[in-house]
């Protein structure tokens, strides 16, 4: 009696063994490559950079705490404003006016129809001799998208960065800056990472007007086409945009009284 398998079964088993070995080999390769790349990356970060990174991360955490505290304090102030002991008629008029101003300038959460856009770095390999900066989303891209949205009739815009769900977004207000620090983009001084999600509320046709606006077609659309930046947009029946949380006080100026 032979203990050997028939030739056909032996062949099937060896195929299985090869497939499993190949699969494990690929997983091992990917794992090792990732491990090595993080080690290499860490080796290139100098101790000075490590200190700076820690400092930047700490400042970001402080910023988040400050924003949360401002939000809570603002809610308390609004609570006081709604229950003043003075004339009810004057109080009602003043609160209505204040609510209208807050709504008009981006200090209130708003809802309405609009458009959602996402833009992210290109997945293409950077050809030899070409600048890698061409293949990532730049400050100018976000600025042009925001400019084109306002010009197309948007009434409220937010920008969020990062792939995670439910990440906080930055409302664009009169003081909003969109700046760069290397590959990082700062909106309202909050550091955002790609993919960038821009949401805008506006009247019917906002999406079409945006896609045909010269400011969008002029630089961003060309870069999307030329370098393969990832881009998607769609109209939405209902969006909710967060309010601006931050400083609204003037340090270098003062409001002019209406009678002046």
């Amino acid at each position: 009696m032979s203990r050997r398998l028939p030739p056909r079964r032996r062949l099937a088993r060896s195929r299985w063994a090869i497939s499993i070995a190949f699969g494990l080999g690929v997983i091992g390769f990917v794992g090792a490559a990732q491990w090595n790349s993080s080690l290499l990356r860490q080796q290139f970060i100098t101790s000075a950079q490590t200190v700076l990174i820690t400092q930047a991360e700490q400042l970001q955490r402080n910023q988040e705490t400050l924003r949360a505290e401002i939000e809570a304090a603002d809610d308390r102030v609004q609570g006081f404003q709604e229950q003043d002991a003075g004339s009810q008629a004057v109080l009602r008029r003043l609160n209505e006016e204040l609510a209208a101003v807050r709504l008009a300038i981006g200090l209130e959460e708003v809802r309405g129809p609009g458009v959602v856009l996402e833009i992210a770095d290109s997945q293409r390999a950077v050809p030899v001799g070409e600048s890698a900066a061409n293949y990532i989303v730049l400050v100018d891209d976000l600025r042009d998208i925001v400019t084109a949205l306002w010009a197309a009739g948007a009434e409220a815009i937010t920008i969020a960065g990062g792939a995670a769900e439910g990440i906080p977004s930055e409302r664009i207000v009169a003081s909003t800056s969109i700046d760069g620090a290397g590959p990082a983009i700062l909106v309202n001084s909050a550091r955002l990472s790609p993919p960038y999600r821009i949401e805008a509320i506006g009247p019917d046709g906002l999406h079409e007007r945006f896609l045909t606006h010269p400011t969008y077609l002029g630089r961003v659309a060309r870069r999307i086409e030329a370098y393969g930046l990832q881009f998607a947009s769609e109209a939405r029946d209902e969006l909710t945009l967060a309010e601006f949380v931050g400083n609204t006080r003037l340090r270098w100026g003062a409001p002019i009284a209406v009678a002046d």
Partner: protein, 223 residues
Amino acid sequence: MAGRVAQLSLFVVAIVIGILLVGQLRSQAPSIQLSSLSAQELSALIQTLSARNVELGEALAELREQIRSYEVAEVQGQSTLDLTEAELERHAAFGGLRGVDGQGVVITIEGVSDPTPINDIIYELRGAGAEAIAVDQIRVTARSVATLGAGVIEIDGRPLGRTVEIRAIGSPEGLNSALRRPGGILTLLEQSIGAQFAIEPRTSLRVPATERDLAPQAARPVE
């Protein structure tokens, strides 16, 4: 049968490994970006974040002071309408619905025929801490952008002149140095489009309120 079990096991293991790998890559993404910045870029980022945190800290201190004032008034049974009116004025000035008097800079530009440089300068000024901006006496709100109208540059539907004057309220020194820094916006624009710029710091400057109605039509408040 054994073959099926082996296939299924391999399938499950591959899915678990895939999920773990994606999770790890995603969790690493933000720190990768921060660590990819040079020491110089990190220093600039820290400077920006610090300045922003100082501003936020001051805003928070002011809000707490406001809360204390409301609490005192409440205890004494007094009206706090004047506090609310002050807040209304402050918000209105911040958003462009009131004019602003203060310090700042006046920038005069000649030779611009495209709206992009005007928008770029507005963004640079905001980044440098400008608190109120007007272009040819048109107050720049969040929604104001320069566009090309019928052969002329327009903001909020109003045409700009051949020589454009931008007024910005803010630290005269800070705004001036941000605009003039080597490799900054003005250098780039002088080199790329040949425009001529003049910047004049002012200790007294007036920026008007917007004439545009900013009340939204499509956006409504969330109750």
